[in-house]
Protein backbone atom coordinates (compact mmCIF):
# COMPACT_ATOMS: atom_id res chain seq x y z
CA UNK A 1 0.00 0.00 0.00
CA UNK A 2 1.60 3.20 -1.06
CA UNK A 3 0.56 5.74 1.48
CA UNK A 4 0.59 9.46 1.01
CA UNK A 5 2.34 11.27 3.80
CA UNK A 6 0.73 14.28 5.42
CA UNK A 7 3.65 16.45 4.33
CA UNK A 8 3.22 15.59 0.67
CA UNK A 9 -0.53 16.28 0.84
CA UNK A 10 0.32 19.61 2.35
CA UNK A 11 2.83 20.29 -0.38
CA UNK A 12 0.25 19.34 -3.01
CA UNK A 13 -2.24 21.75 -1.49
CA UNK A 14 0.31 24.52 -1.80
CA UNK A 15 1.65 23.58 -5.20
CA UNK A 16 -1.54 22.81 -7.06
CA UNK A 17 -2.99 26.34 -7.15
CA UNK A 18 0.46 27.66 -8.06
CA UNK A 19 0.81 25.27 -10.99
CA UNK A 20 -2.70 26.09 -12.15
CA UNK A 21 -2.13 29.85 -11.86
CA UNK A 22 1.18 29.62 -13.72
CA UNK A 23 -0.47 27.54 -16.44
CA UNK A 24 -3.27 30.08 -16.90
CA UNK A 25 -0.82 32.96 -17.06
CA UNK A 26 1.43 31.25 -19.61
CA UNK A 27 -1.55 30.33 -21.80
CA UNK A 28 -2.74 33.93 -21.64
CA UNK A 29 0.69 35.15 -22.70
CA UNK A 30 0.73 32.76 -25.67
CA UNK A 31 -2.74 33.88 -26.76
CA UNK A 32 -1.61 37.49 -26.47
CA UNK A 33 1.39 36.79 -28.67
CA UNK A 34 -0.95 35.25 -31.23
CA UNK A 35 -3.13 38.36 -31.10
CA UNK A 36 -0.14 40.64 -31.46
CA UNK A 37 0.96 38.67 -34.50
CA UNK A 38 -2.32 39.58 -36.23
CA UNK A 39 -1.65 43.27 -35.57
CA UNK A 40 1.93 43.01 -36.77
CA UNK A 41 0.96 41.18 -39.92
CA UNK A 42 -1.90 43.62 -40.48
CA UNK A 43 0.55 46.52 -40.65
CA UNK A 44 1.71 45.47 -44.10
CA UNK A 45 -1.65 45.40 -45.94
CA UNK A 46 -2.30 48.74 -44.19
CA UNK A 47 0.61 50.41 -45.96
CA UNK A 48 -0.34 52.53 -48.95
CA UNK A 49 0.42 51.28 -52.44
CA UNK A 50 0.78 47.84 -54.03
CA UNK A 51 3.14 45.68 -51.95
CA UNK A 52 4.49 43.94 -55.05
CA UNK A 53 5.36 47.26 -56.70
CA UNK A 54 6.88 48.46 -53.47
CA UNK A 55 9.15 45.45 -53.23
CA UNK A 56 10.24 45.78 -56.85
CA UNK A 57 11.01 49.46 -56.45
CA UNK A 58 12.94 48.72 -53.30
CA UNK A 59 14.98 46.23 -55.28
CA UNK A 60 15.83 48.94 -57.75
CA UNK A 61 13.38 48.08 -60.54
CA UNK A 62 12.02 51.49 -61.49
CA UNK A 63 9.36 50.63 -64.10
CA UNK A 64 8.44 46.99 -63.55
CA UNK A 65 6.61 45.20 -66.32
CA UNK A 66 3.27 43.52 -65.72
CA UNK A 67 4.94 40.10 -65.77
CA UNK A 68 7.45 41.11 -63.12
CA UNK A 69 4.70 42.41 -60.87
CA UNK A 70 2.67 39.24 -61.41
CA UNK A 71 5.70 37.09 -60.59
CA UNK A 72 6.33 38.94 -57.31
CA UNK A 73 2.62 38.73 -56.55
CA UNK A 74 2.64 34.98 -56.88
CA UNK A 75 5.91 34.84 -54.98
CA UNK A 76 4.50 36.77 -52.01
CA UNK A 77 1.17 34.90 -52.30
CA UNK A 78 -0.58 38.25 -52.65
CA UNK A 79 -3.24 36.72 -54.89
CA UNK A 80 -4.44 34.46 -52.06
CA UNK A 81 -7.14 35.39 -49.53
CA UNK A 82 -5.94 37.42 -46.54
CA UNK A 83 -6.42 34.68 -43.90
CA UNK A 84 -4.29 32.31 -45.97
CA UNK A 85 -1.65 35.01 -46.32
CA UNK A 86 -1.70 35.53 -42.57
CA UNK A 87 -1.30 31.82 -41.79
CA UNK A 88 1.59 31.52 -44.21
CA UNK A 89 3.22 34.63 -42.77
CA UNK A 90 2.76 33.30 -39.24
CA UNK A 91 4.28 29.96 -40.22
CA UNK A 92 7.37 31.74 -41.48
CA UNK A 93 7.48 34.16 -38.54
CA UNK A 94 7.43 31.34 -36.01
CA UNK A 95 10.47 29.89 -37.71
CA UNK A 96 12.18 33.27 -37.34
CA UNK A 97 11.70 34.41 -40.93
CA UNK A 98 10.34 37.95 -40.82
CA UNK A 99 11.05 38.60 -44.50
CA UNK A 100 13.93 40.73 -45.74
CA UNK A 101 14.69 44.41 -45.34
CA UNK A 102 13.83 46.41 -48.48
CA UNK A 103 16.94 48.52 -47.94
CA UNK A 104 19.64 45.91 -47.46
CA UNK A 105 18.00 42.73 -48.72
CA UNK A 106 19.17 40.98 -45.56
CA UNK A 107 16.79 39.13 -43.20
CA UNK A 108 14.98 41.56 -40.89
CA UNK A 109 15.64 39.46 -37.81
CA UNK A 110 19.37 39.49 -38.51
CA UNK A 111 19.40 43.29 -38.96
CA UNK A 112 17.40 43.87 -35.79
CA UNK A 113 19.27 41.20 -33.86
CA UNK A 114 22.52 43.08 -34.39
CA UNK A 115 21.01 46.15 -32.72
CA UNK A 116 18.95 44.47 -30.02
CA UNK A 117 21.80 44.19 -27.44
CA UNK A 118 22.25 47.97 -27.44
CA UNK A 119 18.53 48.51 -26.82
CA UNK A 120 18.44 45.89 -24.08
CA UNK A 121 21.52 47.43 -22.46
CA UNK A 122 19.87 50.86 -22.53
CA UNK A 123 16.48 49.80 -21.18
CA UNK A 124 18.01 47.36 -18.71
CA UNK A 125 20.27 50.04 -17.24
CA UNK A 126 17.34 52.42 -17.13
CA UNK A 127 15.27 49.82 -15.29
CA UNK A 128 18.01 49.32 -12.76
CA UNK A 129 18.50 53.06 -12.21
CA UNK A 130 14.76 53.64 -11.86
CA UNK A 131 14.43 50.80 -9.38
CA UNK A 132 17.30 51.97 -7.21
CA UNK A 133 16.01 55.54 -7.26
CA UNK A 134 12.45 54.47 -6.48
CA UNK A 135 13.52 52.24 -3.61
CA UNK A 136 15.74 54.91 -2.10
CA UNK A 137 13.26 57.71 -2.68
CA UNK A 138 10.22 55.76 -1.54
CA UNK A 139 11.88 54.55 1.67
CA UNK A 140 13.19 58.03 2.49
CA UNK A 141 9.76 59.54 1.89
CA UNK A 142 8.05 57.00 4.09
CA UNK A 143 10.67 57.33 6.83
CA UNK A 144 10.37 61.11 6.92
CA UNK A 145 6.73 61.47 5.89
CA UNK A 146 5.61 65.11 5.72
CA UNK A 147 9.06 66.33 6.73
CA UNK A 148 11.62 68.00 4.51
CA UNK A 149 13.18 64.92 2.84
CA UNK A 150 9.70 63.75 1.90
CA UNK A 151 8.68 67.17 0.61
CA UNK A 152 11.80 67.60 -1.49
CA UNK A 153 11.57 64.12 -3.01
CA UNK A 154 7.88 64.61 -3.74
CA UNK A 155 8.58 67.87 -5.50
CA UNK A 156 11.28 66.13 -7.52
CA UNK A 157 8.90 63.32 -8.48
CA UNK A 158 6.33 65.87 -9.62
CA UNK A 159 8.93 67.42 -11.88
CA UNK A 160 10.31 64.07 -12.98
CA UNK A 161 6.92 62.67 -13.88
CA UNK A 162 6.32 65.69 -16.09
CA UNK A 163 9.61 65.55 -17.97
CA UNK A 164 9.26 63.33 -21.03
CA UNK A 165 12.43 61.41 -21.86
CA UNK A 166 13.05 63.36 -25.07
CA UNK A 167 12.99 66.71 -23.28
CA UNK A 168 15.49 65.46 -20.73
CA UNK A 169 17.54 63.90 -23.47
CA UNK A 170 17.79 67.17 -25.37
CA UNK A 171 18.72 69.12 -22.25
CA UNK A 172 21.32 66.58 -21.20
CA UNK A 173 22.74 66.45 -24.69
CA UNK A 174 23.05 70.23 -24.88
CA UNK A 175 24.18 71.08 -21.38
CA UNK A 176 26.04 68.01 -20.20
CA UNK A 177 27.48 66.34 -23.25
CA UNK A 178 28.26 69.36 -25.43
CA UNK A 179 29.23 71.79 -22.65
CA UNK A 180 31.18 69.52 -20.34
CA UNK A 181 32.28 66.77 -22.66
CA UNK A 182 30.86 64.05 -20.45
CA UNK A 183 29.64 61.07 -22.42
CA UNK A 184 29.33 61.11 -26.16
CA UNK A 185 26.91 62.34 -28.77
CA UNK A 186 27.88 59.68 -31.25
CA UNK A 187 28.39 56.57 -29.21
CA UNK A 188 28.88 53.09 -30.52
CA UNK A 189 26.56 51.62 -27.93
CA UNK A 190 29.36 50.74 -25.49
CA UNK A 191 28.46 50.34 -21.87
CA UNK A 192 30.63 53.27 -20.74
CA UNK A 193 28.27 55.66 -22.48
CA UNK A 194 24.98 54.09 -21.47
CA UNK A 195 24.57 56.02 -18.23
CA UNK A 196 23.37 59.38 -19.58
CA UNK A 197 20.74 58.09 -22.02
CA UNK A 198 19.60 55.51 -19.47
CA UNK A 199 19.15 58.25 -16.89
CA UNK A 200 16.92 60.22 -19.24
CA UNK A 201 14.86 57.13 -19.88
CA UNK A 202 14.68 56.21 -16.20
CA UNK A 203 13.53 59.53 -14.73
CA UNK A 204 9.80 59.34 -15.40
CA UNK A 205 9.59 55.69 -14.31
CA UNK A 206 11.61 56.48 -11.18
CA UNK A 207 9.23 59.33 -10.36
CA UNK A 208 6.16 57.16 -10.86
CA UNK A 209 7.48 54.29 -8.85
CA UNK A 210 8.70 56.50 -6.00
CA UNK A 211 5.23 58.01 -5.63
CA UNK A 212 3.68 54.57 -5.69
CA UNK A 213 6.13 53.02 -3.24
CA UNK A 214 5.71 55.94 -0.85
CA UNK A 215 1.93 55.54 -0.88
CA UNK A 216 1.99 51.79 -0.35
CA UNK A 217 4.71 52.03 2.33
CA UNK A 218 2.64 54.56 4.26
CA UNK A 219 -0.38 52.35 3.92
CA UNK A 220 1.56 49.33 5.17
CA UNK A 221 2.98 51.36 8.08
CA UNK A 222 -0.58 52.05 9.22
CA UNK A 223 -1.38 48.35 9.51
CA UNK A 224 -1.99 46.53 12.78
CA UNK A 225 1.02 44.24 12.50
CA UNK A 226 3.31 47.27 12.27
CA UNK A 227 1.75 48.70 15.39
CA UNK A 228 2.34 45.42 17.20
CA UNK A 229 5.92 45.28 16.02
CA UNK A 230 6.42 48.85 17.15
CA UNK A 231 4.97 48.04 20.54
CA UNK A 232 7.45 45.21 20.83
CA UNK A 233 10.26 47.66 20.31
CA UNK A 234 11.19 47.22 16.66
CA UNK A 235 13.35 50.07 15.37
CA UNK A 236 12.08 52.41 12.69
CA UNK A 237 14.47 50.92 10.17
CA UNK A 238 13.30 47.42 10.96
CA UNK A 239 9.65 48.50 10.71
CA UNK A 240 10.26 49.93 7.27
CA UNK A 241 12.58 47.29 5.89
CA UNK A 242 11.25 44.12 7.45
CA UNK A 243 7.54 44.83 7.86
CA UNK A 244 6.40 47.55 5.46
CA UNK A 245 8.59 47.00 2.42
CA UNK A 246 7.67 43.35 1.68
CA UNK A 247 4.01 44.29 1.77
CA UNK A 248 4.53 47.40 -0.31
CA UNK A 249 6.66 45.58 -2.86
CA UNK A 250 3.82 43.86 -4.63
CA UNK A 251 2.03 46.94 -6.03
CA UNK A 252 5.46 48.19 -7.07
CA UNK A 253 6.16 44.93 -8.89
CA UNK A 254 2.88 45.22 -10.80
CA UNK A 255 3.70 48.82 -11.71
CA UNK A 256 7.12 47.73 -12.90
CA UNK A 257 5.50 45.19 -15.20
CA UNK A 258 3.39 47.92 -16.75
CA UNK A 259 6.23 50.43 -16.81
CA UNK A 260 8.53 48.11 -18.74
CA UNK A 261 6.49 48.90 -21.85
CA UNK A 262 7.26 52.56 -21.38
CA UNK A 263 10.94 51.78 -20.97
CA UNK A 264 11.11 49.68 -24.13
CA UNK A 265 9.02 52.12 -26.15
CA UNK A 266 10.70 55.22 -24.75
CA UNK A 267 14.06 53.74 -25.68
CA UNK A 268 13.26 54.44 -29.34
CA UNK A 269 13.05 58.18 -28.70
CA UNK A 270 16.08 58.35 -26.43
CA UNK A 271 18.06 56.32 -28.96
CA UNK A 272 17.19 58.80 -31.67
CA UNK A 273 18.45 61.70 -29.55
CA UNK A 274 21.69 60.08 -28.45
CA UNK A 275 22.17 58.27 -31.79
CA UNK A 276 22.34 55.11 -29.75
CA UNK A 277 22.69 52.20 -32.19
CA UNK A 278 19.68 50.22 -30.98
CA UNK A 279 16.58 49.03 -32.78
CA UNK A 280 14.71 52.25 -32.00
CA UNK A 281 16.98 54.51 -34.00
CA UNK A 282 17.16 51.84 -36.68
CA UNK A 283 13.39 51.68 -37.07
CA UNK A 284 13.24 55.45 -37.51
CA UNK A 285 15.67 55.14 -40.40
CA UNK A 286 13.55 52.32 -41.76
CA UNK A 287 10.42 54.45 -41.54
CA UNK A 288 11.93 57.23 -43.62
CA UNK A 289 13.06 54.62 -46.17
CA UNK A 290 9.58 52.99 -46.16
CA UNK A 291 11.21 49.73 -45.17
CA UNK A 292 8.03 48.14 -43.81
CA UNK A 293 9.32 44.66 -42.92
CA UNK A 294 11.78 46.29 -40.53
CA UNK A 295 8.92 48.22 -38.89
CA UNK A 296 7.06 44.92 -38.50
CA UNK A 297 10.10 43.23 -37.05
CA UNK A 298 10.56 46.10 -34.58
CA UNK A 299 7.01 45.75 -33.27
CA UNK A 300 7.43 41.98 -33.11
CA UNK A 301 10.64 42.17 -31.08
CA UNK A 302 9.41 44.83 -28.67
CA UNK A 303 6.04 43.09 -28.35
CA UNK A 304 7.69 39.77 -27.56
CA UNK A 305 10.08 41.34 -25.06
CA UNK A 306 7.24 43.17 -23.35
CA UNK A 307 4.99 40.11 -23.14
CA UNK A 308 7.87 37.99 -21.82
CA UNK A 309 8.85 40.62 -19.28
CA UNK A 310 5.28 41.05 -18.00
CA UNK A 311 4.94 37.27 -17.82
CA UNK A 312 8.08 37.07 -15.70
CA UNK A 313 6.86 39.86 -13.43
CA UNK A 314 3.50 38.13 -13.00
CA UNK A 315 5.14 34.79 -12.24
CA UNK A 316 7.39 36.51 -9.70
CA UNK A 317 4.31 38.04 -8.08
CA UNK A 318 2.67 34.61 -8.00
CA UNK A 319 5.74 33.23 -6.29
CA UNK A 320 5.78 36.04 -3.72
CA UNK A 321 2.11 36.30 -2.89
CA UNK A 322 0.11 33.08 -2.39
CA UNK A 323 -3.12 35.10 -2.35
CA UNK A 324 -2.78 35.65 -6.11
CA UNK A 325 -2.74 31.92 -6.80
CA UNK A 326 -6.43 31.34 -6.21
CA UNK A 327 -8.44 32.61 -9.18
CA UNK A 328 -10.00 35.97 -8.56
CA UNK A 329 -13.75 36.21 -8.56
CA UNK A 330 -14.72 39.16 -10.67
Amino acid sequence: MGHVSLASVQRMRIMLPLVRAVGTRVTQALLTVLGISVIIWGLLPLAPGDPALRLLQARGVQDPTAEQVAAVRADLALDRPLPVQYIEWLGRAVRGDLSVSYQTGRPVLEELGKRMPATLLLSGTALLLALVAALGGGLLCAAYAERWPDRIIRLLTQIGAAAPAFLLGLLVLRFVVVEFGVGRVLSGGQWQYVLLPAMCLAVSRAADWTQLLRASLLEALGAQYVLVAQARGATKLRLLWRYALPNAALPLLTAIGVGLGGLLGGAAIVEAIFTWPGIGSYVLEAISARDYPVVQGFVALIGLSYVTASLLVDLLALGLDPRLRTPRTA
Binding site: Q28, L31, T32, G35, I36, V38, I39, L43, L44, L46, A47, P48, Q158, I159, A161, A162, A163, P164, A165, F166, L167, L170, L171, L173, R174, V178, A215, G261, G262, L264, G265, G266, A268, I269, A272, I273, V283, L284, A286, I287, S288, R290, Y292, V295, Q296, F298, V299, I302, G303, Y306, V307, S310, A330
Partner: protein
Protein backbone atom coordinates in the same frame (compact mmCIF):
# COMPACT_ATOMS: atom_id res chain seq x y z
CA UNK B 1 -19.30 71.57 -15.29
CA UNK B 2 -21.86 68.91 -15.90
CA UNK B 3 -19.48 66.05 -15.24
CA UNK B 4 -18.29 67.28 -11.91
CA UNK B 5 -21.89 67.70 -10.80
CA UNK B 6 -22.48 64.09 -11.62
CA UNK B 7 -19.25 63.06 -9.99
CA UNK B 8 -20.44 63.88 -6.54
CA UNK B 9 -23.71 62.06 -7.08
CA UNK B 10 -21.91 58.77 -6.57
CA UNK B 11 -23.46 56.20 -4.31
CA UNK B 12 -22.42 56.17 -0.64
CA UNK B 13 -21.99 59.94 -0.56
CA UNK B 14 -23.35 61.63 2.56
CA UNK B 15 -26.24 64.03 2.16
CA UNK B 16 -24.92 67.26 0.70
CA UNK B 17 -25.96 70.57 2.08
CA UNK B 18 -24.12 72.66 -0.48
CA UNK B 19 -24.43 72.26 -4.25
CA UNK B 20 -22.18 69.38 -5.35
CA UNK B 21 -20.39 71.43 -7.98
CA UNK B 22 -19.43 74.03 -5.48
CA UNK B 23 -18.07 71.40 -3.16
CA UNK B 24 -15.82 69.91 -5.83
CA UNK B 25 -14.61 73.34 -6.90
CA UNK B 26 -14.05 74.35 -3.32
CA UNK B 27 -12.08 71.20 -2.63
CA UNK B 28 -10.04 71.78 -5.75
CA UNK B 29 -9.35 75.35 -4.75
CA UNK B 30 -8.35 74.29 -1.25
CA UNK B 31 -5.94 71.72 -2.63
CA UNK B 32 -2.60 73.48 -2.99
CA UNK B 33 -1.33 71.43 -5.91
CA UNK B 34 -4.67 71.82 -7.68
CA UNK B 35 -4.48 75.62 -7.34
CA UNK B 36 -1.05 75.68 -8.93
CA UNK B 37 -2.22 73.29 -11.66
CA UNK B 38 -5.36 75.30 -12.37
CA UNK B 39 -3.46 78.56 -12.59
CA UNK B 40 -0.88 77.02 -14.91
CA UNK B 41 -3.56 75.40 -17.04
CA UNK B 42 -5.54 78.65 -17.32
CA UNK B 43 -2.42 80.55 -18.28
CA UNK B 44 -1.40 78.00 -20.92
CA UNK B 45 -4.88 77.63 -22.40
CA UNK B 46 -5.11 81.41 -22.50
CA UNK B 47 -1.81 81.59 -24.34
CA UNK B 48 -2.89 78.87 -26.76
CA UNK B 49 -6.22 80.54 -27.50
CA UNK B 50 -4.83 84.05 -27.69
CA UNK B 51 -1.55 82.94 -29.23
CA UNK B 52 -2.22 83.99 -32.81
CA UNK B 53 -3.34 87.43 -31.57
CA UNK B 54 -0.36 87.86 -29.28
CA UNK B 55 2.21 86.68 -31.80
CA UNK B 56 4.30 89.69 -32.81
CA UNK B 57 5.25 88.29 -36.22
CA UNK B 58 3.87 85.94 -38.85
CA UNK B 59 5.01 82.56 -37.51
CA UNK B 60 5.54 81.06 -40.97
CA UNK B 61 7.20 83.96 -42.80
CA UNK B 62 10.87 83.28 -43.33
CA UNK B 63 13.43 86.07 -43.12
CA UNK B 64 16.74 84.63 -44.20
CA UNK B 65 18.68 87.76 -43.36
CA UNK B 66 17.97 87.17 -39.68
CA UNK B 67 18.22 83.44 -39.36
CA UNK B 68 19.35 81.86 -36.06
CA UNK B 69 19.43 85.27 -34.39
CA UNK B 70 19.93 85.15 -30.60
CA UNK B 71 17.18 86.51 -28.32
CA UNK B 72 16.84 90.28 -28.64
CA UNK B 73 14.30 93.02 -28.05
CA UNK B 74 12.69 92.33 -31.45
CA UNK B 75 12.81 88.55 -31.13
CA UNK B 76 12.44 87.55 -27.49
CA UNK B 77 13.19 83.91 -28.12
CA UNK B 78 15.43 84.47 -31.11
CA UNK B 79 14.75 83.26 -34.64
CA UNK B 80 14.97 79.79 -36.12
CA UNK B 81 16.89 78.41 -39.11
CA UNK B 82 14.60 80.21 -41.55
CA UNK B 83 14.63 83.47 -39.61
CA UNK B 84 11.10 82.94 -38.33
CA UNK B 85 10.31 84.50 -34.96
CA UNK B 86 10.50 81.72 -32.37
CA UNK B 87 8.16 83.42 -29.87
CA UNK B 88 5.43 83.72 -32.50
CA UNK B 89 5.88 80.07 -33.43
CA UNK B 90 5.69 78.96 -29.80
CA UNK B 91 2.52 81.00 -29.29
CA UNK B 92 0.84 79.67 -32.41
CA UNK B 93 2.17 76.15 -31.95
CA UNK B 94 0.46 75.78 -28.59
CA UNK B 95 -2.93 75.75 -30.23
CA UNK B 96 -1.80 72.93 -32.50
CA UNK B 97 -0.34 70.80 -29.69
CA UNK B 98 -3.13 71.35 -27.18
CA UNK B 99 -5.87 71.13 -29.80
CA UNK B 100 -4.50 67.83 -31.07
CA UNK B 101 -4.31 66.46 -27.54
CA UNK B 102 -7.92 67.41 -26.82
CA UNK B 103 -9.12 65.99 -30.13
CA UNK B 104 -7.35 62.68 -29.54
CA UNK B 105 -8.49 62.55 -25.95
CA UNK B 106 -12.14 63.04 -26.90
CA UNK B 107 -11.89 60.34 -29.58
CA UNK B 108 -10.29 57.89 -27.14
CA UNK B 109 -12.83 58.83 -24.50
CA UNK B 110 -15.75 58.22 -26.85
CA UNK B 111 -14.45 54.95 -28.26
CA UNK B 112 -13.48 53.65 -24.82
CA UNK B 113 -16.85 54.57 -23.36
CA UNK B 114 -18.81 52.89 -26.18
CA UNK B 115 -16.70 49.72 -26.39
CA UNK B 116 -16.43 49.40 -22.61
CA UNK B 117 -20.14 49.82 -21.99
CA UNK B 118 -21.04 47.35 -24.74
CA UNK B 119 -18.67 44.82 -23.18
CA UNK B 120 -19.85 45.50 -19.65
CA UNK B 121 -23.56 45.46 -20.44
CA UNK B 122 -23.74 42.54 -22.85
CA UNK B 123 -21.41 40.13 -21.06
CA UNK B 124 -20.93 36.66 -22.51
CA UNK B 125 -19.13 36.14 -25.78
CA UNK B 126 -19.24 39.80 -26.84
CA UNK B 127 -17.54 40.77 -23.60
CA UNK B 128 -14.89 38.07 -23.97
CA UNK B 129 -14.08 38.99 -27.57
CA UNK B 130 -13.90 42.74 -26.88
CA UNK B 131 -11.76 42.30 -23.80
CA UNK B 132 -9.35 39.94 -25.58
CA UNK B 133 -8.98 42.65 -28.21
CA UNK B 134 -8.28 45.18 -25.48
CA UNK B 135 -5.70 42.86 -23.93
CA UNK B 136 -3.93 42.47 -27.25
CA UNK B 137 -3.76 46.18 -27.95
CA UNK B 138 -2.55 46.81 -24.41
CA UNK B 139 0.09 44.12 -24.74
CA UNK B 140 2.04 46.42 -27.05
CA UNK B 141 3.60 49.56 -25.56
CA UNK B 142 1.36 52.33 -26.90
CA UNK B 143 4.24 54.45 -28.16
CA UNK B 144 5.62 51.48 -30.11
CA UNK B 145 2.26 50.74 -31.70
CA UNK B 146 1.86 54.43 -32.55
CA UNK B 147 5.34 54.57 -34.11
CA UNK B 148 4.56 51.47 -36.16
CA UNK B 149 1.22 52.76 -37.44
CA UNK B 150 2.55 56.18 -38.39
CA UNK B 151 5.62 54.48 -39.81
CA UNK B 152 3.55 52.34 -42.13
CA UNK B 153 0.86 54.86 -43.07
CA UNK B 154 3.45 57.58 -43.54
CA UNK B 155 4.16 60.59 -41.34
CA UNK B 156 1.49 63.25 -41.10
CA UNK B 157 -1.00 64.94 -38.85
CA UNK B 158 -4.00 62.71 -39.62
CA UNK B 159 -1.99 59.53 -39.32
CA UNK B 160 -0.58 60.75 -36.01
CA UNK B 161 -4.10 61.17 -34.65
CA UNK B 162 -5.18 57.78 -35.98
CA UNK B 163 -2.11 56.05 -34.57
CA UNK B 164 -2.47 57.53 -31.10
CA UNK B 165 -6.19 56.76 -30.98
CA UNK B 166 -5.60 53.13 -32.03
CA UNK B 167 -2.78 52.78 -29.52
CA UNK B 168 -4.55 54.47 -26.61
CA UNK B 169 -8.28 53.58 -26.57
CA UNK B 170 -7.97 50.11 -25.04
CA UNK B 171 -7.20 51.27 -21.52
CA UNK B 172 -10.33 53.45 -21.48
CA UNK B 173 -12.49 50.59 -22.73
CA UNK B 174 -11.21 48.31 -20.00
CA UNK B 175 -11.79 50.94 -17.30
CA UNK B 176 -15.28 51.70 -18.59
CA UNK B 177 -16.13 48.01 -18.51
CA UNK B 178 -15.05 47.62 -14.91
CA UNK B 179 -16.92 50.78 -13.88
CA UNK B 180 -20.04 49.54 -15.67
CA UNK B 181 -19.79 46.14 -14.02
CA UNK B 182 -19.52 47.88 -10.65
CA UNK B 183 -22.43 50.18 -11.41
CA UNK B 184 -24.65 47.24 -12.31
CA UNK B 185 -24.53 46.13 -8.69
CA UNK B 186 -25.56 49.55 -7.36
CA UNK B 187 -28.89 49.72 -5.51
CA UNK B 188 -30.30 52.46 -7.73
CA UNK B 189 -29.54 50.45 -10.86
CA UNK B 190 -31.08 47.29 -9.43
CA UNK B 191 -34.10 49.28 -8.25
CA UNK B 192 -34.53 50.79 -11.69
CA UNK B 193 -34.26 47.34 -13.23
CA UNK B 194 -36.88 45.99 -10.82
CA UNK B 195 -39.11 48.90 -11.70
CA UNK B 196 -39.09 47.59 -15.26
CA UNK B 197 -36.94 50.24 -16.86
CA UNK B 198 -35.07 49.00 -19.91
CA UNK B 199 -31.29 48.59 -19.93
CA UNK B 200 -30.89 51.33 -22.51
CA UNK B 201 -32.49 53.93 -20.29
CA UNK B 202 -30.70 52.65 -17.22
CA UNK B 203 -27.38 52.99 -19.04
CA UNK B 204 -28.08 56.54 -20.15
CA UNK B 205 -29.70 57.69 -16.93
CA UNK B 206 -27.89 55.83 -14.17
CA UNK B 207 -24.72 54.17 -15.32
CA UNK B 208 -23.01 56.27 -17.99
CA UNK B 209 -23.04 59.66 -16.24
CA UNK B 210 -21.09 58.31 -13.27
CA UNK B 211 -18.83 56.21 -15.46
CA UNK B 212 -18.06 59.15 -17.73
CA UNK B 213 -17.16 61.25 -14.71
CA UNK B 214 -14.78 58.61 -13.39
CA UNK B 215 -13.25 58.26 -16.82
CA UNK B 216 -12.78 62.00 -17.04
CA UNK B 217 -10.45 61.93 -14.04
CA UNK B 218 -8.35 59.27 -15.72
CA UNK B 219 -8.34 61.38 -18.86
CA UNK B 220 -7.04 64.38 -16.93
CA UNK B 221 -4.30 62.22 -15.47
CA UNK B 222 -3.50 60.92 -18.92
CA UNK B 223 -3.42 64.29 -20.67
CA UNK B 224 0.19 64.90 -19.72
CA UNK B 225 1.34 61.58 -21.13
CA UNK B 226 -0.67 62.17 -24.31
CA UNK B 227 0.83 65.60 -24.90
CA UNK B 228 4.26 64.15 -24.32
CA UNK B 229 3.49 61.42 -26.85
CA UNK B 230 2.25 63.88 -29.49
CA UNK B 231 5.28 66.09 -29.03
CA UNK B 232 7.52 63.02 -28.97
CA UNK B 233 6.19 61.64 -32.25
CA UNK B 234 6.36 65.04 -33.91
CA UNK B 235 9.87 65.34 -32.53
CA UNK B 236 10.77 62.11 -34.30
CA UNK B 237 9.42 63.63 -37.49
CA UNK B 238 6.40 61.33 -37.53
CA UNK B 239 3.71 63.84 -36.68
CA UNK B 240 2.97 67.38 -37.71
CA UNK B 241 4.99 68.23 -40.79
CA UNK B 242 6.92 71.44 -41.38
CA UNK B 243 6.32 74.34 -41.80
CA UNK B 244 3.42 74.02 -39.34
CA UNK B 245 4.42 75.33 -35.94
CA UNK B 246 4.05 72.59 -33.34
CA UNK B 247 6.08 72.29 -30.16
CA UNK B 248 7.41 68.80 -30.77
CA UNK B 249 8.31 69.50 -34.39
CA UNK B 250 9.98 72.78 -33.38
CA UNK B 251 11.99 70.93 -30.79
CA UNK B 252 13.08 68.52 -33.46
CA UNK B 253 14.18 71.41 -35.70
CA UNK B 254 16.03 73.14 -32.89
CA UNK B 255 17.98 69.97 -32.22
CA UNK B 256 19.88 70.37 -35.47
CA UNK B 257 21.09 73.81 -34.42
CA UNK B 258 21.66 73.03 -30.77
CA UNK B 259 25.35 73.88 -30.96
CA UNK B 260 24.93 77.29 -32.60
CA UNK B 261 21.51 78.34 -31.32
CA UNK B 262 20.75 76.65 -28.00
CA UNK B 263 18.05 79.23 -27.17
CA UNK B 264 15.79 77.64 -29.79
CA UNK B 265 15.48 74.65 -27.50
CA UNK B 266 13.89 76.58 -24.66
CA UNK B 267 11.02 78.06 -26.66
CA UNK B 268 9.09 74.81 -27.17
CA UNK B 269 10.66 72.87 -24.29
CA UNK B 270 9.38 75.04 -21.45
CA UNK B 271 5.71 75.07 -22.52
CA UNK B 272 5.63 71.28 -23.11
CA UNK B 273 7.04 70.78 -19.65
CA UNK B 274 4.59 73.23 -18.08
CA UNK B 275 1.58 71.66 -19.79
CA UNK B 276 2.53 68.21 -18.55
CA UNK B 277 3.13 69.58 -15.04
CA UNK B 278 -0.28 71.30 -15.03
CA UNK B 279 -2.06 68.17 -16.24
CA UNK B 280 -0.30 66.00 -13.67
CA UNK B 281 -1.03 68.38 -10.79
CA UNK B 282 -4.70 68.62 -11.69
CA UNK B 283 -5.07 64.90 -12.27
CA UNK B 284 -3.37 63.99 -9.00
CA UNK B 285 -5.47 66.51 -7.10
CA UNK B 286 -8.70 65.18 -8.61
CA UNK B 287 -7.66 61.67 -7.67
CA UNK B 288 -6.82 62.74 -4.11
CA UNK B 289 -10.12 64.53 -3.66
CA UNK B 290 -12.35 61.85 -5.12
CA UNK B 291 -10.48 58.88 -3.73
CA UNK B 292 -9.22 59.99 -0.31
CA UNK B 293 -8.27 56.45 0.68
CA UNK B 294 -5.35 56.55 -1.70
CA UNK B 295 -3.41 59.51 -0.47
Amino acid sequence: MKFSQLLTRQASMPVETIPPTRSLWRQLLQHREARVGLLLALFLVGLALGGPLLAPYDPNRPNYREKLAPPSVEHWLGTDQAGRDQLSRVLVGGRQTLGTALLILSLIFGIGLVVGSIAGMSGGIVDVVLMRLVDIVMALPSIVLAIAIVGVLGPGFQNLILALVVAWWAYYARLTRSYVLNARQRPDVIAARLAGIGWGRIMLGHVLPGVAAQLLIIATLDLGALIAAIAGLSFLGLGVQPPTAEWGAMLSDSRLYVAVAPWLLLGPLVPIFLVVVAANLLGNALRDILDPARC
